[in-house]
């Protein structure tokens, strides 16, 4: 045969895209196989919405058998609902990043890093996979919307999913940043809980800063240090945006949350990428 057959190599971009898809699919499949994560994803909303939400609901409704003493445009169940979505996303996102340690431990990460895929593609595949699973876990909470008397249109549901995706991406990137600094499963578990729970409790998820108060009054009513922590916690603005979309109540405005989450996504992903390049 005189003609030299040219082997058609795929375009480098398509190689990266195919690799990205493969890594993403691997993360999603692994999460589906992880029944422990699935049980966590269902037990958290049940505990927080059904038990805590119902338990505290009567004490936040302005009156019980007396006259109206204070007014808020939501029930406690409605108030806590977006926070529980964020909680489910937080746990799943950060725990998805444990796969970085897992892959490092079993040599998979080394194999992937010597493939033609760029470090950025490898990281993006892992983060997008983790974020997808986290959004799915967040969406599980939406099944309880009827119970909490939270009603939303399909458009609001889409907006909420968009916000959830943004939050999940930022937190999965944060999880990878943590995983790159922690060398053992045990250490990661302790450290991630030390990050997740304080972030959640200080994000105005389970108690509102009184909407009737001004900034100055808020700092008189609540301890100054608590208000400062809540205001500097990026999750506060993410939960507030979700609350704005789902129950039409917001302390800071929906775009503040979107902006904060975008900035966090870029910052955490950049740090994770720098860590990956050094790996």
């Amino acid at each position: 045969m005189n003609e030299v057959e040219t082997i058609r190599r795929p375009h480098p971009f398509m190689v990266q895209l195919g690799g990205l898809y493969g890594l993403w699919l691997r993360e999603v499949r692994r999460a589906f196989r992880d029944r422990g994560q699935l049980i966590g994803g269902v037990s958290r909303p049940i505990l927080w919405v059904i038990i805590l939400g119902i338990g505290l609901n009567p004490y936040f409704r302005g009156e019980v058998y007396g006259s109206v003493t204070f007014v808020v445009p939501f029930t406690y169940l409605q108030f806590i609902f977006p926070g529980v979505i964020a909680l489910n996303i937080m746990f799943t996102s950060v725990q998805s990043a444990v796969s970085v340690i897992w892959d490092r431990e079993f040599g998979y990460l080394r194999e992937v890093l010597v493939s033609p895929l760029s470090r950025g593609t490898v990281l993006l595949g892992k983060v997008l996979g983790g974020a997808t699973v986290a959004v799915l876990h967040g969406a599980l909470v939406l099944i309880l919307a009827r119970f909490a008397d939270v009603t939303f249109t399909p458009m609001q549901a889409l907006q909420a999913l968009g916000l959830m995706a943004l939050l999940a991406f930022a937190l999965t990137s944060l999880g990878v940043v943590i995983a790159n600094r922690i060398r053992s499963f045990e250490g990661f578990g302790i450290f991630s809980n030390a990050v997740i729970l304080p972030l959640y409790f200080t994000s105005s998820s389970i108690f509102p800063l009184d909407p009737a108060l001004s900034q100055a009054q808020t700092r008189v009513v609540y301890p100054d240090w608590l208000v400062t922590i809540v205001q500097y916690n990026p999750l506060t603005y993410a939960v507030d945006s979700l609350r704005s979309v789902l129950i039409n109540y917001s302390q800071f405005g929906v775009w503040t949350g979107v902006t904060v989450m975008l900035v966090c996504s870029v910052v955490f992903f950049t740090i994770a990428l720098l860590d990956f390049r050094r790996a």
Binding site: F32, R33, R35, L38, I39, G41, V42, P45, I46, I50, I54, N57, P58, R61, G62, E63, V64, Y65, G66, S67, V68, V71, V72, P73, T75, Y76, L77, L140, I143, L144, A145, R146, F147, A148, D149
Partner: protein, 263 residues
């Protein structure tokens, strides 16, 4: 051949979703169960707020008839608790309502942000807002004296006051529908501003003109109010209203009281 591993994953995920769906069907409160246990639904209404509450046993008013229909639908009796303050004072805090008196607040509750701050709101059934009633149709309010009767809670009073000021109107506060009718009839005010259903009722009774006012002022819908957290009761009332929409009950009650949209 289906991969058993994949099948197990699908079953696990399906079980999780099914569990959450099952849990979401649990009753979140006891409000409906208590009403069914006692066998009576109690509603707080103003003494009179035509055409919603008239005080006339023959034609008790739109809200009273709707409440009775809802109680029938739920299979319980209806107890009306008249509240004098609701007709006199527009501040809900001063109505001194509580759960012991009633489970539903009716007779001029509008679906506004202010109302939703202290009550759950049920299905909407008629539009309301600020309306102008006068002996003859008025094109401009500039320089006129207008009687304002703002009984219903939830409409934007501050917005109305700003609008009237901007129109160069002299406002006089009225305390009752009777006082407003008397003032318009004897010419001490050129027109009256009040909630739309009341305005159209007064116009119909006296052969006067009525129209919406306040470009930019929001219009709202009339609703029943529930105590915050009484979700099961709210659902039962919403289900009743859904049936009434289908069988024409709401339309027939509104028609009976000549409740028509203001053009």
């Amino acid at each position: 051949m289906v991969d058993p591993g994949k099948l197990r994953n699908v079953i696990s995920f399906g079980a999780v979703v099914a569990l959450l769906v099952a849990v979401s069907l649990l009753p979140p409160d006891t409000s409906l169960r208590e009403i069914e246990r006692v066998g009576a639904l109690r509603a707080c209404v103003p003494s009179t707020y035509p055409p919603l509450v008239t005080g006339d046993p023959e034609r008790p008013g739109v809200d009273i008839e709707l409440l009775r229909a809802v109680a029938d639908h739920m299979g319980v009796s209806m107890i009306i608790a008249e509240n004098q303050a609701m007709g006199r004072d527009f501040n809900p805090r001063n109505w001194n309502l509580n759960r012991a008196q009633c489970q539903i607040v009716a007779g001029g509750v509008v679906n506004s942000a202010q109302t939703r701050s202290f009550l759950e709101t049920g299905p909407e059934y008629a539009e309301t807002g600020w309306a102008l009633v006068s002996q003859q149709a008025l094109q401009s309010l500039s320089g006129l004296t207008v009687g304002t009767l703002a009984l219903v809670s939830g409409l934007d009073r501050i917005g109305l006051a700003s609008y009237l000021r901007a129109q160069g109107v002299t406002a006089r506060v009225m305390t009752s529908p009777e006082a407003l009718v008397a003032a318009i009839a004897d010419g001490s005010v050129d027109a009256g501003v009040t909630e739309a259903m009341m305005a159209s009722g007064l116009a119909r009774e006296n052969g006067w003109a009525v129209r919406w006012i306040g470009e930019g002022l929001p219009r709202h819908h009339l609703v029943f109010g529930f105590w915050k957290g009484d979700i099961t009761l709210k659902r039962a009332v919403t289900a009743a209203f859904a049936d009434f929409s289908v069988n024409g009950k709401i339309a027939s009650i509104l028609e009976k009281y000549d409740v028509t949209s203001i053009e």
